[in-house]
């Protein structure tokens, strides 16, 4: 159906004849072109990481944050249209605050994810609204069950729970790299300190020096070390992780080129 898009992509309130909502898919495309965002559930916490492209040399590095605290125990990383994401962040904060005010306990991670997804989904139902051009990675901890979790809310209004997830430009290779970490098996799960290193490695691995824009790494975690609060990963440790990541990638490349030479022999 070569021309199936024609006429059916003007509104998210209209299905195409083959059952798709093009506006929602276009919204997902908006995310696919933005900086990579990664999330990883580790044995003792969750790590969030966003590659924030520095669009302009005059830009103050810390401006336009992509990772936001929404409650003491939870944080959100956004990628795509940052301004759309900010709306989601505000809504997430409201949901957390309202829940605690009403029930006297922190909002369970699953409920937060679902409520945020419902909010996003609402924007895919009406002809007069535009879907969100943002994906949000939600890291949170539930003090009642003492469980931590990672979820991703997508422009279509779905929220899935993950061991590791990626959104944005580098999501495909990033997912492959995340799968290699095998964090979904308890025996091969890693701690957050190792997780930070691995996420830094993946971001640098996907980043092509010279071709891609320079970027800033934003990292946060909700873990045992941060007393299960959502905090930025200590700046020193990010630096350390990045150094390790660069070295690791270099070694890997050397190893690969050695192998190539051997094969030539």
């Amino acid at each position: 159906m070569a021309s199936s898009g024609s006429g059916y992509d003007l509104s998210s309130s209209t299905f195409s004849p083959d059952g798709r909502i093009f506006q929602v898919e276009y919204a997902s495309k908006a995310v696919e072109n933005a900086g990579t965002a990664l999330g990883l559930k580790c044995s003792n916490g969750v790590v969030l990481c966003v590659e924030k492209p520095l669009l302009n040399k005059m830009l103050l590095p810390s401006s336009s944050r992509r990772i936001h605290t929404i409650d003491s125990h939870s944080g959100v990383a956004i990628t795509g249209f940052v301004s759309d994401g900010r709306q989601m962040v505000n809504r997430a904060r409201e949901e957390c605050s309202n829940y605690e005010e009403t029930y006297g306990t922190k909002i369970p991670s699953k409920v937060l994810g679902e409520r945020l997804a419902s909010y996003v989904h609402y924007f895919t139902l009406h002809g007069s609204l535009r879907p969100f051009g943002t994906s949000a990675l939600v890291a949170s901890y539930d003090p009642e069950t003492k469980q931590h979790s990672l979820q991703m809310v997508e422009p279509s209004g779905v929220a899935y729970t993950y061991y590791g997830c990626a959104a944005g430009k580098g999501r495909q290779p990033a997912r492959t790299e995340l799968e290699k970490l095998d964090v979904h098996k308890p025996e091969t799960s890693i701690d957050v300190r190792e997780g930070v290193k691995q996420l830094a490695r993946i971001i640098h691995l996907l980043h092509e020096e010279g071709k891609d824009k320079p970027f800033e790494l934003e990292m946060s975690w909700v873990c045992e070390e941060s007393n299960w609060e959502h905090k930025g990963v200590p700046r020193d440790y990010i630096k350390e992780a990045v150094e390790w990541a660069k070295k690791d990638i270099e070694e890997e490349e050397e190893f690969e080129s050695d192998e190539d030479e051997e094969m030539e022999d």
């Binding site: 029930y103 006297g104 306990t105 369970p108 009642e144 069950t145």
Partner: protein, 237 residues
């Protein structure tokens, strides 16, 4: 004229008059004319793995016993119960609301609500409507977070977690008794005996408490209701 005109007339007696007791307890003083009151003795003690709640069964209008076998223990969720005192109408409405909210919450979260959440909901209703309510309730139950726990929400809408709680007009007569009987870490058996004994003694001295004793033992495994007839109360040394 506001809705409290009835007791305003009583209390606006000429100033020089010496203090005269109106014969009413704090729980019953502000009732509207003709309103039913659970002039009451209620009680809850947590133990390792659960909680015992108990109440007498008298509901009165003034000095007439409107119901001699009422049930002042209301179930709010699978493992959360509430002892009611004050206006019967108000406390019934409140427990209905909290029961509704908790069932909604359980569906949304997919897990059993905590006793703390139940207490928080009740406290919000009591606090935000304090001018129009006559309700003093005790919330007790079992949940995986705190195990057995008890919260007290008296007239103004304060919410305090308690090692044990007693309430209602009859409770004033047994503070000493319960203070001397209660100890930390009571067994289920000890707590249950203590509740029945204390309520018996309150019923013996409080004209607004009486009838039978109804209890419930709340544990993870379920709830066990018990009934002590009015002629077989564990009263006395």
């Amino acid at each position: 004229m506001n809705q409290f005109a009835y007791h305003q007339q009583q209390m606006q007696a000429p100033m020089p008059m010496s203090y005269q007791h109106d014969g009413k307890s704090a729980e019953t003083r502000n009732l509207k004319p003709g309103e039913l009151s659970t002039g009451t003795t209620i009680m809850a003690i947590p133990f390792e793995g659960g909680v015992v709640l108990g109440a007498d069964s008298r509901t009165s209008t003034g000095t007439y016993i409107a119901n001699r076998v009422s049930d002042k223990l209301a179930q709010l969720h699978d493992h959360i119960w509430c002892c009611r005192s004050g206006s019967a109408a108000d406390t019934q409405a409140l427990t209905d609301y909290v029961r509704h909210y908790l069932s909604q919450l359980a569906i949304e979260t997919g897990r059993a609500p905590t006793v703390k959440t139940a207490a928080h909901l009740m406290r919000r209703l009591c606090y935000e409507n304090k001018d129009n309510l006559m309700a003093g309730v005790i919330i007790g139950g079992w949940d995986p977070v705190e195990k057995g726990s008890v919260y007290n929400i008296p007239l103004g809408g304060t919410c305090i977690k308690m090692p044990f709680a007693i309430g209602g007009s009859g409770s004033t007569y047994i503070y000493g008794l319960v203070d001397s009987m209660y100890s930390e870490g009571m067994t289920e058996e000890e707590a249950h005996t203590c509740v029945k004994k204390a309520i018996s003694h309150a019923m013996a001295r409080d004209g607004s408490s009486g009838g039978v004793i109804r209890t419930v033992v709340v544990k993870e495994s379920g709830n066990a209701r018990e009934y002590v007839p009015g002629n077989a109360l564990p009263f006395g040394p």
